[in-house]
């Protein structure tokens, strides 16, 4: 008994000591990375975690950080679980993080209202709440380079062009296979509005999180309904399973489109039959960029990365790099704006509003042609950038289209209404008090 008490006491004491410990040196910037290398979403989460970590680590190794200030990187495992994600947030909050990347829509939603109170900007890159693109209402949340509504409008536009014009979509049937969570359901209102307007029919195929790997019933229904096109909003093991099921059920794979989340492994799951599977993307695949070569040289070859060598440059790895590129730019811009070296979350929020990744800047960073340009501003925290379509050729992704611009006219109304609605429902939602910087 007394031994147990002693053990408990020891544990409590260590816990308290552990909480008191993290006092970081004042000449560094703390960047927590919320990652998931465990659980059902680890298949997608691991390459992203590697990409995020490796790019920032490369900056540390090659340049000694950003602007001469070392970055302190710390991963916190969320397992894509809201409970653990919120715990991670509480754990890092006290260490003055300059930005948090929840990497889950479910974790992003509870953090959005806290961001302005805790003065920690949230970077939810192309996920999270679409309405948070409005910088005047959500000054602390950033979701570049495009929202899910933008993505949906791009897919419809692309399919329409294939048919020979948006008006040709009349009478067609479009299936929407989505994860049955706020992430997958977000584009539905837009899809329904477009269906009314353009006259196509929508069939919804929700996939519950616990059934991600068993989609036979959805694909059976799809076989019965015979949708002309299939659009997928999936994540984690859902993507690979969907491609596999599509191939197995004989659905014409070239009519199967996805938003930007599947990776190479997901397409490989379908075997040879997956050839022709298409998805949206907004950055290059491959390691043929000076910056990524530097990652190879300074991080991977030295054994500082967890990524196997052949995974460097894969789609989701590069997605992680893009995420870290935004973090790094946010910090660099903040240093430029404030003249300080050690920046805080408040500075980085300003920095992110001044992100200007034009071709010249990308070239300077060693990522020429990696992605389209991205300019954020005080009012626009998203950019609503165009994405392109890429196709799986059996071994790799091949870019098959020019940039597809989102249907801004149709998306904007929805977005503004949603942002207004959010602010109204959250009584006491603060008015933006943060001053805007003059566009530099």
């Amino acid at each position: 008994m007394s031994f147990r008490k002693l053990g408990l006491g020891l544990a409590a004491a260590t816990m308290l000591a552990g909480m008191a410990l993290p006092a970081f040196a004042q000449d560094s910037v703390y960047v927590p990375l919320f990652t998931y290398r465990t659980g059902p979403f680890a298949g997608s989460g691991t390459p992203i975690a590697d990409g995020m970590h490796d790019y920032l680590r490369m900056l540390n190794e090659r340049d000694g950080g950003i602007g001469g200030v070392k970055l302190v990187l710390e991963e916190c495992e969320t397992g894509y679980d809201t409970k653990k994600g919120v715990e991670c947030y509480e754990a890092v909050k006290g260490k003055n993080p300059v930005v948090v990347n929840p990497w889950s829509t479910g974790i992003t939603l509870p953090l959005i209202p806290r961001a302005s109170v805790d003065k920690i900007p949230i970077l939810s890159m192309a996920y999270g709440l679409s309405a948070s693109a409005r910088g005047d209402i959500f000054p602390w949340v950033f979701n570049p380079p495009a929202t899910y509504w933008d993505g949906m409008s791009m897919l419809i536009k692309y399919i329409g062009e294939k048919e020979g014009g948006l008006d040709k979509l009349k009478g067609k049937k479009i299936g929407f296979l989505h994860l049955d969570a706020s992430f997958g359901k977000e584009p539905i209102p837009l899809l329904q509005e477009l269906s009314k307007e353009l006259g196509f029919e929508v069939a919804l195929y929700p996939v519950a999180a616990q059934d991600m790997q068993n989609q036979s019933s959805q694909w059976l229904s799809a076989r019965r309904d015979r949708p002309d096109y299939m659009i997928m909003w999936g994540w984690g093991s859902m993507n690979g399973a969907a491609v596999k099921e599509a191939v197995r059920s004989g659905y014409p794979i070239d009519k199967f489109y996805s938003v930007w989340w599947p990776g190479e492994d997901d397409a490989r799951a379908g075997g040879a039959g997956a050839k022709g599977f298409k998805m949206l993307n907004w950055h290059a695949v491959g390691a043929n960029f000076p910056a990524i070569q530097d990652i190879q040289k300074h991080v991977v070859d030295k054994g500082l990365s967890k990524a196997p060598k052949d995974k460097v440059g894969e789609l989701l790895y590069n997605r992680g790099i893009y995420n870290s590129l935004l973090i790094a730019e946010g910090i660099a811009q903040a240093q430029k704006l404030t003249g300080k070296k050690v920046v805080t979350g408040e500075d980085v929020r300003r920095g992110m509003e001044n992100i200007k990744l034009d071709p010249a800047r990308l070239k300077a960073l060693g990522l020429e042609g990696f992605t389209d340009q991205l300019v954020l501003s005080c009012a626009d925290h998203n950019g609503h950038r165009a994405a392109f379509m890429q196709e799986w050729d059996g071994t790799k992704w091949v870019k098959i289209s020019n940039p597809i611009e989102p249907m801004t006219d149709r998306v904007k109304g929805q977005l503004d209404a949603a942002a207004k609605d959010y602010a109204e429902k959250n009584a006491g939602w603060p008015k933006r008090s943060e001053a805007c910087d003059k566009a530099s």
């Binding site: 260590t14 816990m15 410990l21 919120v86 715990e87 754990a91 006290g94 479910g106 959005i112 959010y422």
Partner: protein
């Protein structure tokens, strides 16, 4: 030495049937409660927000399930869903009637959960054991389906998620992003103490004895004049009430916004494990169970890296996660082998030994 029964004479029946007959126990309880309140002013925000608030919320849910499974012997796998009913009811009530104080709605939301719980408890009259568990599983899936499919429940939010609008008590924000962990903790602590006190009185009184009689032998209980239907339904209602309030606290005072997925089947199992590990049919066991299942992984997450660090080994976050899983799993098996009646039984044995210490008898 300090913990002795000697010299404390009970001169009335009331004193004899008291829940805490020992003076030391009463003092200990007072110290714990005072300490819990003092923690609000001593603890940092991580301790309050990420450890203590969820611990109290889960303890409350575990008390709810313990009333049903531990005291009445009815196995339920619908705890997560009943928590969800409370959360969604609270959201609807506080947005529809923003003028009424939210504390009122937190308590009222439990009644919605109680009604739903009693409804799904109806089959318990005819089916028992594992079969009842399956019936409550149906409640879990059906209610979760409702949470996703009925947009009215979330006031047609595009995100499909619950959010926490600003609500105040005596002018101090207790719900919403501006509420400090300190105030949230004080509110949760007070609610949990009040409800635990009520539960303690329930289970030690006539109603609790009826539940226990049904659990121990329902046929005998019926012959003694206890009505099985009313008793079982009352257990379902009271249990769901506690779960519902816990659900409302979970969303509005801990997360500050949540998706339907928070109330999935894993949540139900999570609470069930707490009850089993903590001790079936014990209120303090509910707290022990919540501490072991919820706080231990967090402690491990902090202690493990600190343990490896002096040796220059940096352990990755995912390895820690795997270690947490393995250690907690092993400990659960260990405790179940050493004491199948849960931590509460260990506690009781410890107290009895302490009474006669240093002598064995």
């Amino acid at each position: 030495m300090l913990y002795r029964e000697a010299g404390q004479f009970k001169t009335t029946y009331v004193a004899d049937s008291a829940i805490f007959p020992l003076r030391e126990d009463r003092i200990g309880l007072a110290i714990i409660i005072l300490g819990a309140y003092a923690l609000a002013f001593l603890g940092n925000s991580f301790l309050l927000q990420a450890v203590m608030i969820p611990f109290l919320v889960f303890s409350l849910a575990a008390i709810g399930l313990n009333i049903l499974t531990g005291y009445t012997g009815l196995l339920s796998l619908g705890t997560g869903a009943f928590m969800g009913v409370g959360a969604y009811a609270c959201y609807k009530l506080m947005t529809a009637f923003p003028g009424v104080n939210v504390i009122v709605w937190i308590f009222v939301s439990g009644f919605f959960s109680a009604a739903i719980g009693a409804l799904f408890g109806l089959p318990s009259l005819r089916i028992k054991g594992f079969y009842l568990a399956v019936a409550t599983l149906a409640a879990q899936f059906f209610l979760q389906w409702c949470f996703i499919r009925i947009p009215w429940l979330v006031n047609y939010n595009v995100s499909g998620a619950l959010d926490a609008p600003l609500r105040t008590l005596f002018g101090i924000p207790i719900i919403g992003p501006n509420a400090t962990p300190q105030t949230r903790y004080l509110v949760v602590l007070t609610i949990v103490i009040v409800l635990t006190w009520i539960a303690s009185n329930l289970v030690h009184g006539r109603i609790g004895r009826m539940w226990i009689a049904i659990r121990d032998m329902d046929l005998a209980a019926e012959l003694m004049g206890i009505r099985p239907l009313q008793t079982k339904l009352l257990a379902f209602a009271v249990s769901s009430y506690y779960c519902g309030v816990a659900g409302a606290l979970l969303v509005f005072l801990w997360y500050g916004g949540a998706e339907y997925d928070v109330f999935n089947i894993n949540q139900s199992f999570f609470i069930l494990f707490m009850v089993i590990i903590g001790g079936l049919g014990s209120l303090i066991g509910s707290f022990f169970g919540a501490a072991l299942i919820f706080i231990l992984p967090i402690v491990l997450g902090i202690v493990l890296p600190a343990m490896f660090e002096p040796f220059g080994i940096s352990v990755a976050a995912d390895v820690i996660e795997h270690l947490r899983f393995m250690i907690v799993g092993a400990l659960i098996i260990f405790f179940l082998i050493v004491e199948p009646h849960g931590l509460a039984r260990l506690w009781q044995i410890g107290k009895q030994k302490l009474l006669v210490w240093p002598f064995p008898y």
